[in-house]
Structures are given as C-alpha cells and as structure tokens.
Symmetry: C2
Subunit: 159 residues, 2 copies
C-alpha cells in the first residue's frame, strides 16, 4: 500500500470505528488530494455515516467526507482519491461521478456491493482491499442493528 | 397536472426562487408522499441547493429535500414522488435509486441534463414538464454566476 492509500484508508477506518463507538453505522470515508507526481499527499477531509447521530438520510460516509471538505475547485477532485470502508451505494457512486473523482479505494464489498461497475464503466479506477477489519466491524453492526442498516440502504426489514 | 404534481412542483419552484433571492443556486425540490390510492397527498419536505448559502458540496436541491425529510421508513419513499426544478445530477439520481423513489417530476432539462436515462433503466417514471419559469430562472443564474454553476456540476470553468 503506498503513502496515499495508507493515509486515506487509515483515516477512513478510524472514522468507521468512531462512528461505531458513538452508536452509529460504522462506515468511514476520507478524501485525499495527491496532486501532480511528486507532490505530498494531503488529507482534505474525513467523514462517517451520520444516520443515527444526526438523523440524516443523506450523510453516508462518502457524502459526509465530501460535505466536510466544503466547496472545492473542480480540479481538486480530479486529482484526489476517495476512500471508503464499504462499497459505495448508488448515491455515493453518483457523487463520485459528479465530481469526476478518478480513483476509489474500498475497504470491503462483502457486506454490501454498490456501484462499482458503474464507476468502472465511467473510467474510474476502483480498488477493493478486502479488509478483514472493515468486514468484521460492518458485519457486527448488521447483526446488532439490522433495521437501521436496512434503512440506510433503502431496504425494507422483513420481520 | 394532478393534485400531487401541483403540490410538489409549486413547492419546488418556490424553493428555487427563495434560493435565488438568497444569492444561491436556484434549484428547488420537494418530496410528496401519495401513499395508496385515495389517500390525501402529503408534502414531506422541501429543500434547495445550498452550495452558496452553506458552502455545501452535497446539498443539491434533491439531497437537501431528502435531508430535510429526516429518517423515513423505506416504504415511505416507495410511495412518494420527488420533484425538482432541474434534471437531477448523478448524485441526486443515485439518491433516488438508493431509496427506490418510483417517480420523478422535473421542471426542465434544457440547462442541464442529468441521469434521466439511468432512472428510466431502473424502472423509475420520469416526467419532464418543460417549465418556462424553471428554464428562465436557471438560465439567468448561469449567465450571472457561471463559475458557481460549473462548480456545482463539477465542471472546470474555461476563462
């Protein structure tokens, strides 16, 4: 794992853990700017799912990181990587496409598989790390709070 | 235009105008629940683009309406229509797909054409009203603040 990926994924996992500790959905994200070749990578923003903490229907991990980043010039996104502990849902996939973020690094896609194919079909580089740490934290939450998890992905909970 | 559409589009256009009056991007949205046949339609939430007002990179009109709606049970979205004064970008398209909102009513798609085909390919009913009021307000904003508009859709402004 190179310096950019280590910086971004470490921050994303820390966000997921923080969210879990707060009683929230443990999905974290980070946006890292890597500019041109040789430039030092810079952590622009981090975020985590805020459904439970803020009663939010839109602050998924990635949306939260993008929101925390504030207003950026369009070319900043185009030289950045977005990190997420879990495969991005269709909303977060769409946000990545909106801002032409060229690279997405995903902790795991076993507990949920999102818009990876749509990203690839638009030329986005998608890397799935298969992180056991991400998988087990997410699986634990889904076991503990299945209804909250289903709500987060728009699924009805069958009793 | 039936009662649901009149309720939703009137609210969305009002939001767009309010945003313009605040110096913001004039895109408004509304979520209307229409439940089962015979039920009275209910305006769940409204919202407008908040890029300028809140320095927000994610609060497009539709995301803002969904956020203002708070946490809803998954089946509420499935019996609702989302209204927007402008064709939804890929992020807002993805949010509509996430929550399986079955019907989208769009004021206009001349100033921007978003993910209408992707919505239709997932079975979402998409109605474009071709509203002159929506078109002229949006066109006016784009003329006045092209850089802010480009930022909102991830486009670089060519000097």
């Amino acid at each position: 794992m190179d310096a950019v990926d280590k910086l971004g994924m470490t921050a994303a996992i820390e966000q997921a853990k923080n969210s879990y500790a707060e009683g929230g959905i443990p999905i974290g994200s980070a946006l890292v700017y890597h500019g041109s070749a040789g430039e030092e990578p810079r952590l622009i923003a981090t975020g985590h799912n805020e459904r439970i903490q803020k009663a939010s229907a839109t602050l998924h991990g990635e949306i939260s990181a993008l929101e925390n980043a504030g207003r950026l010039k369009p070319d900043v996104y185009r030289k950045s990587t977005i990190f997420t502990t879990l495969s991005p849902c269709s909303m977060c996939t769409g946000a990545i496409l909106l801002y032409r973020i060229p690279r997405v690094v995903i902790g795991e896609n076993v507990n949920f598989l999102g818009g990876e194919d749509l990203l690839r079909s638009h030329g986005v580089e998608v890397i799935v790390l298969g992180s056991e740490e991400c998988k087990s934290l997410m699986a634990k939450f889904i076991r503990e709070k299945p209804e909250e998890w289903n709500e987060d992905i728009g699924e009805e909970t069958v009793a």
